[in-house]
C-alpha cells in the first residue's frame, strides 16, 4: 500500500469529507511524526509502535574497495519499535 492508496481508503470510509481534506489529514499525521523526530522527540502510539531518534557516534569507516580509512561524522537515525499489539497480530 502506498500513501495515495491509504488516502483513498480513508476517503471511501468517510464519504462526507472532501478528498483534499483527507489528503491533508493523512499528510498532517506523518508530517507531525517527522517534525517530532527532527526536534529529537519521541512519538509513542500505543498498540502501533514508537518512533525515536538514535545517535550514532562518529567513527572511522573504510572504503571497501581501497581499504582506505575515511572519517564518518556522527549522525542521528530514526528508529521504530513495533508496538505489542501489532507485533502479536503479525503472528496470529
Amino acid at each position: 500500500m502506498i500513501k495515495s492508496e491509504l488516502i483513498n481508503k480513508i476517503a471511501e470510509a468517510n464519504p462526507h469529507l472532501y478528498h483534499r481534506d483527507v489528503e491533508r489529514i493523512v499528510s498532517t499525521i506523518f508530517d507531525e511524526i517527522t517534525g517530532a523526530l527532527v526536534e529529537g522527540d519521541r512519538v509513542e502510539l500505543r498498540g502501533f509502535g514508537a518512533f525515536s531518534v538514535k545517535e550514532r557516534p562518529a567513527r572511522i569507516g573504510r572504503n571497501p574497495r581501497t581499504g582506505e580509512k575515511v572519517p564518518v561524522a556522527e549522525k542521528r537515525v530514526p528508529y521504530f519499535k513495533t508496538g505489542k499489539d501489532l507485533r502479536e497480530q503479525l503472528n496470529k
Binding site: L6, A13, R24, A36, E39, G40, R46, P78, L90
Partner: protein, 97 residues
C-alpha cells in the same frame, strides 16, 4: 532537543488544527489511519509513505535461542517482524542542524 513524547492526542490536535473537524472526529481519523496501516501490514502488504518511509514485513526463520541467564536452549518459532525504513528525506531532515 526538547525530549518530549508525542502521542495520539498530539496527532489529533494537529489534525484538528489543520482541518475544520471536531476533536472527536479528528481522533477517529488518526485511529483509522493507524488501523489501515496496521491492517495492510497484518495482511502481509508493505506500506510505503512517500517522503516518510516504508514499513516492511519480514519473515524470520525459526532458530534455537538461548536464555542468556540460565544458558538453557529455547526454540524460537518462525515469525514475522516489522521493520521501518526511513526515507532519504526523513534521514536528511533529522540530520539537518
Amino acid at each position: 532537543m526538547s525530549n518530549k513524547t508525542l502521542t495520539r492526542a498530539d496527532l489529533t490536535e494537529a489534525v484538528y488544527e489543520e482541518v475544520g473537524l471536531s476533536r472527536n472526529e479528528s481522533a477517529a481519523l488518526v485511529e483509522q489511519v493507524l488501523d489501515e496501516v496496521s491492517g495492510s501490514l497484518i495482511s502481509g502488504d508493505n506500506v510505503k509513505i512517500s517522503s516518510f518511509g516504508s514499513f516492511l514485513v519480514r519473515s524470520k526463520n525459526g532458530r534455537i535461542g538461548r536464555n542468556p541467564k540460565t544458558g538453557e536452549e529455547v526454540p524460537i518459532e518462525p515469525r514475522r517482524v516489522l521493520v521501518f525504513r526511513p526515507s532519504q528525506v526523513m534521514k536528511e531532515r533529522i540530520n539537518a542542524g
